[in-house]
């Protein structure tokens, strides 16, 4: 076989092999495990003060160079965007867990990709922990 033909075939065929998730699966990100993702994106804090926790999360986002786009105390969510040669969007929600704890959950989007890597979330919760003066506990 001619090498040029091989090359052409490879260039056309490899996207099929290595290609991303089909577009329709992207709508609900059906390729990801819901349980695992929750674990990566959530931490529990020993406090019941939702308002203070949301305010501290806003402060943490500002410390991380985000501009806060939205906040809703009743719903318990805030959203922000960081522009630094890329667009990083994050939503943080604060929900009660039992009578003595709050769950803080963050989900982020880097340009047009969901952030599923645990490390950025660890970094976010490390920053939040510092601002809260409370330990972020892993949620099972």
């Amino acid at each position: 076989m001619d090498l040029r033909k091989v090359a052409l075939f490879l260039i056309v065929a490899t996207p099929l092999l290595f290609g991303c998730v089909p577009p329709n699966q992207r709508i609900l990100d059906s390729d990801q495990s819901q349980v695992q993702l929750r674990q990566i994106q959530s931490r529990a804090f020993d406090t019941t003060d939702r308002r203070l926790t949301l305010r501290t999360a806003i402060q943490t986002l500002q410390d991380l160079s985000f501009v806060v786009d939205k906040a809703d105390l009743d719903l318990g969510t805030i959203s922000g965007t960081k522009l630094d040669g890329y667009a990083l969007r994050i939503t943080v929600s604060v929900m009660p867990r039992g009578k003595k704890q709050l769950i803080v959950r963050a989900n982020a989007q880097y340009n047009i990709e969901p952030v599923t890597d645990p490390e950025p979330y660890q970094q976010f919760f490390a920053a939040l922990e510092k601002a809260m003066f409370l330990t972020a506990q892993q949620v099972d």
Partner: protein, 181 residues
């Protein structure tokens, strides 16, 4: 072309790797995107001013007026959490950049894109660090679009002058409001 299996297989593998790298999914998040940076405290100081008041709502109102003064529309607010977010769009044409593009076009015949529009966003956040005091922190960012409609750059704005001017206006606004002017 004569068939030389070892070389051809090697070349094919190189090509395979190369095109996979080209066609692969979008790049992933930078390792330090959500890492608290050592300079975050300096940035916080630059972007924050303290006011001797415990009236958060009044401070937020004064901030909303300043945002209006500098041409922003309010997109979102939640006074219970001390947040106002606004945005505006402005011309981003820079004479020196246009001149550069024309010069380069004359020399090389290529057509370099130039900045056309900037979409600017700001958020103002208030919080009480201690009794009788309120901190106001403002952050600005922008997206610049070029004359081809492409995003030229996205960035946070960190020029100290910008923040000084904003807080000068806010101090005035608080004063004007306190005196009902």
């Amino acid at each position: 072309m004569k068939l030389r299996p070892a070389r051809d297989v090697f070349l094919a593998l190189v090509l395979l790797g190369f095109s996979a790298a080209l066609q692969g999914c979008a790049p992933t998040i930078p390792k330090d995107a959500l890492l608290l940076q050592p300079d975050s405290l300096a940035r916080r100081q630059l972007q924050t001013r303290r006011f001797d008041t415990s009236d958060e709502l009044q401070l937020l109102q004064a901030s909303a007026m300043v945002l209006q003064d500098i041409g922003f529309s309010i997109d979102e607010s939640e006074t219970k959490l001390g947040l106002i977010a606004g945005s505006k769009s402005r011309d981003a044409t820079s004479a020196s950049q246009v001149a550069g593009a024309i010069l380069l076009g004359l020399l090389s015949g290529s057509n370099m894109p130039v900045d056309r529009v900037q979409h600017i966003k700001a958020s103002v956040v208030t919080r009480s660090p201690a009794k009788g005091a309120m901190n106001v922190r403002v952050t600005f960012q922008r997206t610049v679009i070029d004359d081809r409609g492409q995003v030229a750059r996205v960035e946070s704005l960190e020029e100290p002058v910008l923040y000084q001017e904003f807080f000068d206006k806010l101090s005035k606004s608080v004063f004007l409001q306190a005196n009902n002017i």
